[in-house]
């Protein structure tokens, strides 16, 4: 038995196809361009590679993954904020408020950014103390 294919009188309308594609692409473009950019600005002077260059009045903060020290004295994380505020409140000039930050190599960024945030909110200016690599040739 031969089946007869029905003949449609109207074609599928395609005139709106371009508009749909256009709107879809604009939608994807807008979605793709939304990247997080909120954050915190930080001005960091060039690092001190020589300890002799440090002014004697600057405060030194030492960071390890679990501890924080101020001028060699260890503090609990919850005590650090009030102590650094006290110390920096006594400093008059911006040069005195420079805080030299010495981090251990294994300090995670999240910890580092939290601690530098506390120092900056207390009025400190963070500068980094990086260990200088030295190559020693042994004959």
């Amino acid at each position: 038995m031969k089946l007869r294919r029905p003949k449609y009188l109207v074609e599928m309308p395609t005139s709106a196809m371009n508009d749909i594609a256009f709107i879809l692409i604009v939608f994807f473009l807008v979605c793709a361009s939304v990247e997080p950019e909120d954050g915190r600005s930080q001005v960091i002077p060039r690092s001190e590679k020589n300890e002799e260059q440090q002014a004697s009045q600057t405060t030194e903060v030492g960071l390890t993954p679990a501890t924080v020290t101020i001028d060699g004295t260890p503090y609990r994380l919850n005590e650090f904020q009030s102590r650094i505020r006290q110390i920096l409140a006594q400093k008059k000039t911006e040069a005195e408020r420079v805080v030299v930050l010495k981090s251990q190599a294994d300090v995670p960024y999240e910890h580092w950014i939290g601690m530098t945030g506390i120092i900056e909110r207390a009025g400190g200016v963070v500068t980094l103390l990086l260990e200088e690599e030295q190559t020693v040739n042994i004959n």
């Binding site: 256009f22 793709a32 361009s33 909120d38 954050g39 960091i44 995670p108 960024y109 999240e110 950014i113």
Partner: protein, 125 residues
């Protein structure tokens, strides 16, 4: 009809150009912070991903060369217009991110750490 086709091709061209600078393929999770602000401008973007690899504008770069490359990117831009977006995976350690910060600082870039807002502390019952 031809007008629509031209617009369509133009858009695809723009999309492809945009993809060339895209950083969406980089895997990093921002650290949390408070009092976050939007950057005033964005001249360059440095990413350190989950694998401790450093990228400048989506392209892998050696940390030793970062200062020089940033210097040529920032050129003679005035102070206040030399913002460098700094996107570091939250678990990357100081051994990798501190030299990058030093390079940005050495090139005269103004750091803007990209962070996510810290969750609100739950109310004490």
């Amino acid at each position: 009809m031809a007008m629509g086709d031209i617009a369509f091709l133009l858009l695809i061209f723009i999309v492809l150009l945009a993809r060339a600078r895209d950083e969406s393929h980089l895997v990093w999770q921002p650290a949390t912070g408070t009092e976050l602000v939007k950057p005033t401008n964005r001249n360059a973007s440095v990413v350190i991903d989950k694998q401790n690899v450093t990228y400048l504008n989506g392209r892998p770069v050696q940390v030793q060369n970062l200062a020089a490359e940033l210097d040529s990117l920032l050129g003679d831009l005035p102070a206040g217009g030399r913002t460098v977006l700094f996107k570091v995976h939250k678990n990357v350690i100081a051994e990798f991110f501190e030299p990058a910060i030093e390079a940005v600082s050495g090139a005269g870039g103004e750091l803007h750490h990209v962070l996510e807002p810290a969750p609100n502390p739950s109310p004490v019952p």
